[in-house]
Amino acid sequence: MAFLQPLIFAIVTLTVFFLAFKKYRVIYANINLGKDEKIAGDSGTRFKNMMLLAFGQKKMFRNLTPAILHGFIYVAFLFTQIELIEIFIDGFTGIHRFFWYVLPLGGFYTALISFIEILSVLAFVGTIAFLARRNLLKVPRFHMDEMTGWPKLDGNLILFFELILLVGIFSMNTADMALADGKYGFAISGMLYPLIDGLGDTTLHIIERFGWWIHILMVFGFILYLPASKHLHIMLAFPNAYYGPLDGGANKGEIANMPRITEEIKLMMDPSAPMPEEDPNAEPERFGAKDVTDLSWKSLLDAYSCTECGRCSSACPANQTGKLLSPRKIMMDTRDRLEEKGAGLREHGADHDDGKSLFDYISTEELRACTTCNACVEECPVSINPVNIIMELRRYMILEESNSTEEWNLMFNNVETNGAVWKMPASDRTSWINELEAEAEAEDA
């Protein structure tokens, strides 16, 4: 029978890895549906950025309470991977607690697992607090319009998974301690095991295996669940920070140039300029973005990295004053549309047009409410820039559809004819000088 567990374990593991590979490959392919975007800066600085923002969670500390609670779960998650390695070794070889029995770690092992147990208790506190914040305290950003249905369930589900995982960890460790009369010396299960010490060895073995399987099955479930969940951020926050803006936001005010328009204008101003080489049969590239495939791949990576925390939307001036715009919804819509678009392309071929676009998800009213104040960009803990997407969609509206407002058209007209945003003649540009002179004369008089 000893071969049975490794066999089942190997089959389950391989199946999970195979299914996961398929799911993650879809995400990778979807992100690659985006347009090229050159990423500036050297890899060393990028790596540092990633260590600070993703690994170090620097932005989280703008808001201390959730930063600490999230930190508990995050650090516990990182260290629990050590136990996970043991579980894998056990699964494939049948050697339980490899680090204790095979590697001569001794007291160090006790300290390590005790540390994980303490972190797990803190993670438990964090998880309960998060459930309370979402469901009892009603923190406003978890109750905006876009946070109903699946996004709401998703946020809670992951917290329940976390609780089940913790039950698994403590069941296994406590039963192991009871079976070994406490010789491992773990900190928390050392306090718990006297409660079940009286149970027979068989029962204890069952509890131990129950905890063991719960742990690994939750991990497998998690791997397969992530691609459909906001919790994908635990992976994508890293590349998203790596490819994110580097200057700590010093140039956040820059909106990317459109070189094709520069070419057209230069040609208009100087007809003798060389025509850019173009394939006459190629369909002209769209100005701005109508659909997800017109966005930069970084914007698509942004969409998959979004953890739907809503810090962006609660800082958004438009959202706070009751407008339809919610930067979080922009990111969620982009991801939803990308999933739909990608699935359609894979099923029906690269030329497939499903007759829909990102504008079926995001309305012009939402887009027009943005003040480009960058508060959303500033708040995002995982380096997402919703303004880039808003700007690309606005460009499409104006440049391809002439979808503007009367007032904006008036402003465009003024800029075009007078070089000023208001209907004022250029000759009035210096009228303040006359005023200054008049004031000086009046003073002298």
Partner: protein, 258 residues
Amino acid sequence: MSELMASGQEKEVEVLFWVGCAGSFDDRARRITKAFVKILHHCGVSFAILGQEEVCTGDPARRSGNEFLFQMQAITNIETLNAYGVKRIVTTCPHCFNTIKNEYPALGGTYEVIHHTTFLQGLINDGRLKLKDGGEFKGKKITYHDSCYLGRANGIYEAPRQLLELLDAELVEMKRCKSRGLCCGAGGAQMFKEEEEGKLRVNQERTKDIVESKASFVAAACPFCMTMMTDGIKEVEKQDEVQVMDLAEMVAKAQDLI
């Protein structure tokens, strides 16, 4: 005033003053322009303006999505600036500042661009502007409204605050300030259209912060923030208790220049 009119042809000018549409045409913002120019004169700073050759930087065109119009403006301005060999630009408008500094380089216009709050701080640091002791604003409660395009967009939070400190004012921060500062509602070309439907206008929301701060002055550093906050304060009839002033006006006032 002849030196004012001298366009950039005179090579010896220290800096080009980019006046901007608001600074040229808006009644309220013209007072900021005049205050700033008085300080420049007072400190003996030689400067030039483009006068009628200056056109809108294109910021509201770009941000509304009209990239074509933006680039037309930008390329026109860059040609003018380059023709005069302009190297250094100061402006009282954070939108002009951001656009020329961050967006013109991609179109062939690279300059040293300075916002007037930073410029004024520089004048003080260099000893060219000596603030009087116990001026107009000594001990007055003043709050500072961060312009998005100075603060979050360009990381300028300290220069304006240091000016207030030098004016001996008591700086009281609003609950949303610095990188968390709330927009006035004008950016992204919103200045030129009605807001979308909602419960409040953004400047009404910001006015709540101002009133809550109990400051008797709001220091602004952007002509559009100026309009938005002045309107917001008038709406709640607090104009007798809270006055909105640009930092250039405050410095000029403290020096009895205006």
